[in-house]
Amino acid sequence: MNAVIDNLPTYLQGFGLTLSLFFIAGVSAIILGTVVAAMRISPVAGLRGFAAAYTELLRNTPLTLVLLFFAVVFPQIGPRIPYFASACVGLALYTAPFVAEALRSGVNGVPIGQAEAARSLGMGFGQSLTLVILPQAFRMVIPPLVNVMVALAKNTSVAGGFFVAELFTIGKGLANANGDNIIPILLGVAFFYLLITIPLGLLSSRLEKRWVVAR
């Protein structure tokens, strides 16, 4: 326990880096994922195919390989970029397809009768989308979207394997430095991860309960 308290500043430093990885990659993934989801349901076949190929490719590639590409392979073929930036790019590109799938399943989850009813009332495309479809899709999208973000928070630890000194790397270093206190040190690291994931998980299940659509 003392080992954890003594090293609290080091922990917080790593936690800060983990949080900034999480926020930067999370926001970029949501933006990119929304674009991909829009492409996926657009009437333009070329965009649809491109989005589908991107989603399938990234979803079937291990995150380690994606981050490895940006940290190790990319500098061989392109400009050298800082490791933090390459981790952000890798995490965002890896997470975006999961965001896109969550969004798409939300829109697809609205029963077709809702759209038909809106159209038969004389609403146009914009009206039926903003007044009928999206409010319902939004409720169905938020819980899976929060789950994607929880996964992202845990995945930031993989960046620790690629030269970003975030929480996982800090924990590894501290465990090596305090060989007699490995278990408390690592439990300290676990505590900081749970500090992100458990509140998000609670939020997700609360929203799920509150927003359940009775049909």
């Binding site: 380690t64 390989l65 392979v73």
Partner: protein
């Protein structure tokens, strides 16, 4: 919900516009890919030495050597072995977790819930590091047991959802036949819950297979570590890109076949 309900069928003008957009976007993608290929194919100055382009035979020639393929095969086997053992253990652990989590006794249920939440909220990588440093099992068991604990917790939750989705009558019928609660669970509830959730479980096993790649970081010689670390440092950095492409292709082949299996299982469920 199909988009066609949301707007009227496109007329000739809208169709033409859509076609033009299609062509523009395809042309853009082709242009980006072509630019990337040309950049890759060009020779490159790197710290004083000139490397031939990425598609030059001298950067691919190691793949003519059968020993390279034997090593890659060893990596694939190591990945599959870790994933297979972890999958079996995770399924067993998931069943135990689900049984304890749905116990009628609060003193069993509540601690199980805490343990499950702990494992679910942790990065797998941290679990692996934990096992690696706190025990003397070595990297292989760190990967396998880390994956087992994490995915066991996830599969436990999946099975619990499956148990919850069964009609109450199933359990009541079992109990009224004189089976004990445990017997009802093992013979009546679990087989149905398992079948119900099979597609989700297989999807989770694909995630498990992908996560064996974390062995790269904790030092287990699975596929990525074999190709991108051991072979890249043995044959030299000039082969990094070609090794990366081969590794990616192998992963995609394995995962696509597993995903196809998951989809087939899902379809079979719907048909029944």
């Amino acid at each position: 919900m199909s988009a066609s309900v949301l707007f009227d069928a496109p007329g000739p003008k809208a169709r033409r516009r859509s076609l033009i957009f299609s062509i523009i976007s395809i042309a853009l993608v082709v242009a980006v890919v072509a630019w990337a290929l040309i950049t890759l194919a060009a020779p490159r100055q790197s710290s004083g030495i000139t490397l031939p382009g990425s598609f030059d035979p001298s950067r691919w020639n190691i793949f003519a050597d059968p020993r390279v393929w034997r090593d890659i095969g060893g990596g694939v086997l190591a990945t599959l072995r870790a994933a297979g053992v972890a999958a079996v253990l995770a399924l067993a652990l998931g069943i135990i977790f689900a049984a304890l989590r749905t116990s009628v006794y609060a003193w069993v249920r509540v601690p199980t819930t805490v343990v499950l939440e702990f494992f679910r909220g942790m990065p797998v990588l941290l679990l692996m590091l934990f096992i690696l440093l706190a025990s003397s099992f070595g990297a292989y068991w760190a990967v396998v047991l880390g994956l087992t604990l994490y995915n066991g917790a996830i599969i436990g939750e999946i099975l619990r959802a499956g148990l919850a989705s069964l009609p109450r009558g199933q359990r009541e019928a079992g109990l009224s036949l004189g089976l004990s609660r445990l017997q009802t669970k093992t013979y009546i509830e679990f087989p149905q819950a398992f079948r119900q959730m099979l597609p989700v479980i297989v999807a989770q096993l694909v995630v498990l297979l992908k996560d064996t790649s974390l062995g790269y970081i904790v030092g287990y010689n699975e596929l990525i570590r074999t190709t991108m670390n051991n072979m890249a440092s043995f044959y030299g950095n000039r082969y990094l890109l070609s090794l990366f492409i081969v590794t990616l292709a192998i992963y995609l082949a394995i995962n696509f076949s597993l995903s196809a299996l998951a989809r087939r299982l899902a379809r079979r469920r719907v048909l029944r």
